[in-house]
């Protein structure tokens, strides 16, 4: 478990850095409630972006983004609603993004940002 936690944590750090260098304001990380966890909550202009970060160490089991199921998306949607209930922010749009981080041997880690996953 420890390995995957470390890898996952490092992936999320990379994703957050990627977002801030691409014009996003990172509002919150690892926000939890009884429904689950949002990896990154960010803002791009008037849009609230709920970000799921998926990190993998190889493509043997498919790309990281492929592992996001319909069920996971539904959970993220519920989480986005819950987040809004508990915060004072009223964005014009809400979007769910997926950031897949890939650590492949011998190459620098790559970040792939899918805008609007649902």
């Amino acid at each position: 478990m420890r390995t995957s936690n470390t890898v996952g944590r490092y992936g999320e750090d990379l994703a957050a850095r990627y977002l801030s260098t691409h014009g996003f304001a990172v509002l919150e990380r690892n926000w939890r409630c009884e429904l689950g966890e949002i990896d990154i909550v960010a803002r791009e202009g008037d849009t609230l972006v709920v970000c799921e970060v998926k990190t993998r160490r190889g493509l043997n089991y498919g790309s990281p983004a492929e592992s996001i199921t319909y069920r996971k998306l539904a959970t993220l949607r519920k989480l986005a609603g819950r987040w809004l209930q508990t915060h004072e922010l009223r964005p014009a749009e809400i979007r769910i993004d997926i950031i897949s981080v890939l650590f492949d041997r011998n190459t620098p880690p790559s970040v792939d940002h899918v805008r609007g996953a649902s």
């Binding site: 790309s63 983004a65 492929e66 997926i98 897949s100 899918v114 805008r115 609007g116 996953a117 649902s118």
Partner: protein, 525 residues
Amino acid sequence: MTLAQTWSVALVGLEGHLVEVEADIAQGLPKTTLIGLPDTSLSEARDRVRAAVVNSGERFPDRKVTIGLSPATLPKTGSHYDVAIALSLLTAAGAVDPGVLRRTAIIGELGLDGRIREVRGALAMTLAAARAGFDRIVVPDLNVGEARLVPGIEVYGARSLRQVLALLRGTEIPDEAPPRAEPRLVSESLIRVPGVDLDDVIGQREGRRAIEAAAAGGHHLFLHGPPGSGKTMLAERLAGLMPDLSTDDSLEVSAVHSLAGLLTNDAELVLRPPFIAPHHTASLASLVGGGSGMLRPGAISCAHRGVLFIDEAPEMHPLTLDTLRQPLESGFVEIHRAVAVAKFPARFMLVLAANPCPCGLSGTREGICSCSPQHLARYRQRISGPIKDRLDIQRQILPAARTAAEGEPPESTATVAARVQAARDRQLHRYRDTAWTLNSEIPGPVLRRDHPLDKASQRLLEDHYTAGRLTARGFDRVVRLTWTLADLAGLPAPTVEQTHEAFQLRSGEPLTPLSDHRPLKGPTQ
């Protein structure tokens, strides 16, 4: 580049329609959708293409991929869109320069490892692409032979997706192991004109005359006689008497054979009239064509411009045999299915062979027929009147042992074929201003109006007609056959002698000179 298109070809019957294969890569979770009325074999393209792209060392886009085949209303079937889909996708992903695929059609099925497998109907598809003004076509390596037969289009053969990509990128084309040809679903003996010569046939003066006349005018033929008398032998030699196919016919016949899967890889155009001999147990769909999804031509279309030989015709199901009536008249067959309507050419020469009765001995001198009258009647009724009426020439073939003593050494195929060619040239010249080329194709009214018979001939035929020995349709058919006999004799117009022989050939009477002729009493048919 997130949007790209390539072109492929959909076949409805023999007719090809160009299909635009678009690929769109959009933001969204990885998912591939294929739209545009695909059937199951085409829906599976999604998975084949994905595996083939990855196994060819390319990246499959991690996004929402939509592949659209348009026109969307045309039902599409088959696996030959795979390569076009893969290239459209890779172009949209930016892996291929979009400029290089302009005016290029692409056909081919992909294996999971990226190999390109052969497809059916490549000839018709290439024809469609050439007619639509495409400059190039990419086809599976095994289909290059037939695709090259089409003039006016550059053909590229490829064994794998890797090779196509290298070709498009201008890099060195990698070597691939030669593909294994798909097993044929039809035996090759079906399509080859048997390499046999007419001089193998001893005697059979009347039988020879019958197939010569049939070949010269394109007349349908009925041969009956006891088993082993040489009916099959004669029928097999019929196609050899016919002249080579014209360029247009040859391309058309080749396209049908390509769709039926009859062409081999080293395919050349089908230059000789095909000889197709389905067994009498043939199903209806195999004879006239059909199938769900991709409509296939049947035996009658494979025999287009050639010979369809049905041995033991009374053993065939009467309903099956009767389906030949309409194509016999029109020269094509239209196959209607819920998905599409396909029209296949089917201008063939029908040759039926039959025993005289179930035991095979009726009408011979050697044996005594053991069939009951009811048996006999039922057997003869199995070839229906309408079909019999369309058979211009009926001949009884008796065993050679009895007829061999007739003398003269047998003529070879080459000798007779030369006479047939001359007779056909005469017809071509006579009908040069019409849409027809053969005596058997001319409509009765046109023939009677433009090329009337002489008085004596007309009187002879009217006698037969009034006596009930000739039906109205039979009348026209005898006139056509009369012209064929005159063409064979090199006469500018038939005389009463040809008319007499034509009537005898049709009615099945033994051939006798006109001077011996005493009108028979009562109807003979």
